[in-house]
């Protein structure tokens, strides 16, 4: 007997039943791990690629430009399929095919794709640092590399973090595309359940709640990080948490 949800074939109890089931939990965990690893790879590649793009040496800036153009210009799903199915087919090597598990390929493909987008974010961050900083760093005897590492990139970080946060939120969601290469992540887990019990909407609700939960937690963490980084600089954008505590404090004072 289902709960009277007026004339809809939807049973919220099913949502509750599966929300914390082992398969879903495992899928959620894998989603987070893949997203984190891929984002880390993406940031690393973005930094390298941005520096290469900014170089005057064509041996560096041409490959970097190609990389950004190609991986931003093709659908992520195609890239996933390319690395997982296309590459093994090309090399026809059973050992290679075995090593290219969907977990590893997902991280790699998502990371390489992310790097192309991170390139522009990092480049904008570096260019946002005043030219005088490089002058000052050089004038105390730092090489370009040391100036970048110790002076420019740390300052670029402040400008890079907000868009990177957005990218990570997109990454959490894009990781669901890895279902196409068989990765047992959150969406695949939900699907595995609903193809058996046919409760499609309920399971998609479960997955959505998890995605929303992860992205929301991440939003809060990012706002906290941004406010910590604004040492001695402008106040950061108002956060829900910040506004609540501020309102609470103001209310207490008024009603004392």
């Amino acid at each position: 007997m289902s709960i009277p949800f007026p004339s809809l074939d939807y049973d919220p109890r099913v949502v509750w039943d599966y929300l914390f089931s082992p398969i879903i939990l495992e899928g959620a965990q894998r989603t987070i791990v893949v997203a984190l690893a891929a984002q880390a790879l993406g940031v690393f590649m973005g930094v390298v690629s941005a520096l290469m793009r900014m170089s005057k040496n064509p041996l560096l800036n041409v490959p970097a430009n190609f990389y950004v153009w190609f991986f931003r210009g093709t659908p992520l799903l195609i890239q996933l399929l390319f690395w997982y199915i296309g590459v093994p087919q090309l090399f026809d090597n059973p050992e290679l095919t075995r090593q290219l598990t969907s977990f590893r390929v997902a991280i790699f493909a998502l990371g390489v794709n992310e790097g192309a987008y991170m390139t522009e974010i990092v480049r904008a961050g570096i260019e946002s640092v005043e030219a005088g900083q490089m002058d000052a760093a050089k004038s105390v005897g730092m090489t370009y590399a040391m100036s970048m590492r110790r002076i420019i990139l740390p300052q670029a970080l402040r400008v890079v973090i907000p868009p990177t946060g957005n990218e990570f939120i997109a990454m959490l969601k894009n990781s669901s595309l890895a279902y196409a290469i068989g990765l047992m992540e959150l969406l695949t887990a939900s699907r595995a359940i609903y193809v058996r019990n046919l409760k499609i909407m309920e399971l998609l609700t479960v997955a959505s709640i998890w995605y929303l939960g992860m992205t929301t937690v991440f939003n809060v963490m990012q706002a906290e990080l941004e406010s910590r980084m604004a040492v001695g600089v402008r106040q950061g954008p108002p956060t829900l948490f910040g506004r609540l505590t501020e309102a609470f404090g103001a209310a207490r004072t008024r009603f004392r």
Binding site: E130, G132, A136
Partner: protein, 250 residues
């Protein structure tokens, strides 16, 4: 100590330096004045190779800047060699250019630790002494954003001095400061001059120049128009352009 021979520099179509020949002896304080666009800043930046000259040579302590002489020919120096040379030329900028993510002490010790490879304890000790010398003994842990302009510039001077340079270049060090903060920076510069530091100062602070300069230089449109000791330069200039410029600013 510093020698410029027929230095030329152009940016795109603009000839900024058009044949500068100019010497600075050890311990000398030279003040360069001139209208904006005359090439004063560019000249300083060429001396420490923040810009490369197009023609002519600059020598610091007998070493050609940016180039090494190999069997009579000039070979471009590697980045690391240029960086090493820059470590012994201190520069102070109009807009301070302090590293905002480091404290005052952090700004001063970063280069000695990572460029000169000093031990942290030693560098911190020397850094504190340097900050005290410029009058900021109570501001070791302040971030640049928490300091006034005059304080920031003094940190910048301490930062440059921490590398024990042989010569200090000052590019309009007080031009971006509120008038009441100018004095504290000039005091630091004066005491540096009295200690015998070789200094090239681009500035409009005529009082400072009269008091401390060994030689005045007027630059205009990329060339040196006149140079001489302050007394003669201010009271008895020889060239029309000098007289004109001085009449506008004095």
């Amino acid at each position: 100590m510093i020698r410029c021979e027929d230095v030329h520099k152009r940016f795109g179509k603009l000839d900024v330096l058009r044949g500068i020949t100019f010497d600075v002896a050890r311990g000398e304080v030279v003040v360069i004045i001139g209208p904006s666009g005359s090439g004063k800043t560019t000249l300083l930046r060429c001396i420490n190779h923040l810009e490369a000259v197009d023609r002519g040579r600059i020598y610091v302590d007998g070493q050609p800047v940016g180039y090494r002489e190999v069997k009579g020919k000039f070979v471009e120096k590697s980045e690391r060699e240029v960086a090493r040379m820059r470590a012994s030329i201190g520069m102070v900028f109009q807009r301070f250019n302090l590293f905002p993510h480091l404290t005052a002490l952090g700004n001063v010790v970063d280069a000695p630790i990572h460029v000169r490879k000093l031990k942290r304890a030693e560098a911190v000790k020397a850094g504190r002494a340097m900050l005290e010398k410029v009058g900021l003994g109570d501001k070791f842990d302040a971030y640049p954003a928490q300091l006034s302009g005059g304080q920031q510039q003094r940190v910048a001077i301490a930062r440059a001095l921490a590398m024990e340079p042989r010569v200090m270049l000052f590019d309009e060090p007080t031009s971006a400061l509120d008038p009441e903060l100018v004095g504290e920076v000039l005091e630091v510069m004066k005491s540096l001059a009295r200690e015998g530091m070789t200094m090239i100062v681009v500035s409009h602070e005529m009082g400072f120049a009269r008091e401390v300069a060994d030689r005045m230089v007027l630059m205009d449109e990329g060339v040196i128009v006149e140079e001489g000791p302050p007394a003669q330069f201010f009271d008895n200039p020889r060239h029309e352009r000098t007289k004109l410029f001085l009449s506008k600013i004095l």
